[in-house]
Symmetry: C2
Subunit: 381 residues, 2 copies
């Protein structure tokens, strides 16, 4: 089932599944030769992010054992087979495009790996607009678990959590959602909970520069990538007071279809020079789209975001809702940080959104044959 390195994953369906929608549960995402799945994979409906911290005193051997076990779980579950120690094997029957993607923190790698084995990955600089909460901070290890079916996802989460218990403790769990499979046509840009089309400017695996933007070519890490994860809380109650014109001016795009205020459809290029009859720019230079825009084609990254909405822990404001912003890129410092620094400096949207969690991870390439995710970094250390 392996496909070549730069091809986005194809979805496979078992032959007996037929043409009806009722067999979507059999769809699988086949493994890739060089990259982990769950990155160029078209986003599934649901995501659970699991953050672990290795037990105190654990060394590279413990991490190896954990990753061998979790990698094996991931491969089996993605194929619609039970995990080795699966106690609810019937819940593995419908993989529903399940993928599990693993990553390591820079701190963990600094602790466990000799300098020459570590992929270059800096922590993010401090952003003045952030309101970080320790509970959503950096963990040693991450698993991004995605599937179109919520029961499948709950089962996979439980298997991974159980198998990791001997080695690590859960730092946090984050749940995210997009539209259910089939609600909107494939390829439709998702809307966030503010109602905005979110993620229009996003490299596609069909783009000629996709590989260069997403996959690392660092020696010993080729085919890997880096993940920037930001938990962005939206101040929904305060956003409610802004009318549609104000919202569109804040973003620089129309709510109805996501078109830039100077354009007619979602994928039109914004015209930042256009002025209205009073001579004012149609797209406010302080709008989100203007501030995020770069003339440097390298300042782009693959967004794979999910909405989140949980009950507010202190119940005072009703709910904590926003966006699990996930960006994959070959070089966060070069591609992501300049954009975020511009937004941090000025962006009308900053009045209503703040990161409450922030972390970065090295996402190793695919496991070697008969190996496990991370083997390229962890073996023979």
């Amino acid at each position: 089932m392996a496909v070549t390195a730069s091809t986005p994953e194809q979805t496979a369906t078992t032959p007996d599944a037929g043409a009806t929608g009722a067999s979507d549960g059999y769809q699988t995402v086949p493994a890739l030769d060089v990259h982990q799945v769950g990155i160029s994979t078209p986003p599934q409906a649901h995501a659970t992010l699991l953050g672990w911290n290795l037990n105190p005193g654990s060394g590279v051997e413990q991490l190896r054992r954990m990753m061998r076990l979790l990698s094996d779980d991931a491969v089996r579950l993605a194929a619609g087979s039970p995990a080795l120690a699966d106690t609810e094997e019937e819940l593995a029957r419908f993989p529903s495009r399940l993928t599990v993607t693993f990553g390591f923190s820079p701190q963990l790698m600094a602790r466990l790996l000799p300098r020459q084995r570590r992929p270059r990955l800096a922590e993010l600089p401090t952003f003045g607009q952030d309101r970080l909460q320790e509970q959503w901070g950096q963990s040693d290890v991450i698993a991004q678990v995605c599937a179109d079916d919520p029961i499948t996802l709950a089962h996979a989460r439980r298997m991974l959590t159980k198998d990791a218990r001997a080695f690590a403790s859960i730092a946090w769990t984050q749940h995210g959602f997009r539209n259910a499979r089939g609600t909107v046509p494939d390829g439709t840009t998702m809307r966030n909970l503010m109602g905005q089309v979110d993620g229009t400017v996003n490299p596609s695996p069909d783009d000629a520069d996709f590989d260069g933007l997403v996959w690392s070519d660092q020696e010993g890490f080729a085919g890997g990538t880096f993940l920037v994860l930001r938990r962005i809380r939206m101040q929904m109650d305060r956003w409610d007071r802004v009318d549609r014109a104000g919202r569109e001016a804040t973003i620089g795009r129309r709510l109805r279809d996501g078109a830039p205020l100077t354009g007619f459809s979602e994928f039109d290029e914004p015209d930042f020079e256009a002025t209205d009859r009073f001579g004012f720019p149609v797209i406010d230079p302080a709008s989100h789209v203007a501030r995020a825009h770069s003339t440097d084609p390298a300042e782009r990254f693959l967004r794979r975001a999910y909405n989140y909405a949980v009950e507010d822990p202190d119940r005072s404001t009703g709910e904590d809702a926003g966006l699990l912003f996930l960006a994959y890129c070959a070089d966060p410092a070069r591609q992501f940080v300049p954009v975020q620094q511009r937004l941090d400096e000025q962006d009308r949207l900053n009045e209503w959104v703040h990161a409450i969690g922030s972390a970065v991870y090295a996402i190793p390439p695919a496991a070697r044959p008969d190996g496990y995710v991370g083997d390229v970094l962890l073996e023979e250390v």
Copy 2:
């Protein structure tokens, strides 16, 4: 779009939606003449249960105003239209079979309604196996909000929560899930997180006795029903220690397909007289299926359960997972309580499952023309 009282809801799709799965988001559940929707409706993939307590000092007029507002929201959102005060109207575009079903507690009705207007609804008796937590207890008002799409559901939840704020405070929010639309063929009995087929014995709207089991004929409440809501926590870690034979003996059904241990397929009648070669009953008389079984056809009710899985509040045991057990019936005391009393008295499953929340609600019939849900109880008081 109204259909006759006893007909289960049909799903309507807009004419331009075509035959592809990508337009499932346009599916709506039309209103019924006599009953609320969301009861005989084939269960959607996701449910959010909202429990409210009326503000101190509120009277029937406040409840009327709240129900007028929320009923109007429900009708509009179910049709794929924005709510009146909708600030994210684009998120209403794909109703995805959204239904909102409202109910009132016996305590609220005793407080606000004269005796002769109150439908007869007793609180549940105490069950010795329950481990009730106050945070999941009885609320004054409930809304069962269901949809196949999680973004649609999040938006509906927010609209209802905002519009209720002036009248009531949130007691709890409970999220549940079944298989995503299209994962399994329509009509497949769901599995719970223990991996069991759950809900095999369930009246179908096609059954001759469905109406009598589900819809009340109490004077002044005809076409209404009653909801028993139980939050049933599963001790998943302890359940893990039970092997498959032990699990099947506990339930009395096969894990693979839900067939009774004496049968060949899911819907075979269990044979409680059958013995094995040693003369022991094949289905343990203390098994869940044996204890739940009744020879009295009146001891049946409509189950419409959802799985739940949330992070354990104290993080010590990993997660709090189980079942949001929802049962609709014309007379809980006659239909539900005897079954639950038998299970409470003896059921091998009790070693691993306990209700941590419990509540009952009167579910009024459909709103009158130009009325609101509950009008039959609340008008002219």
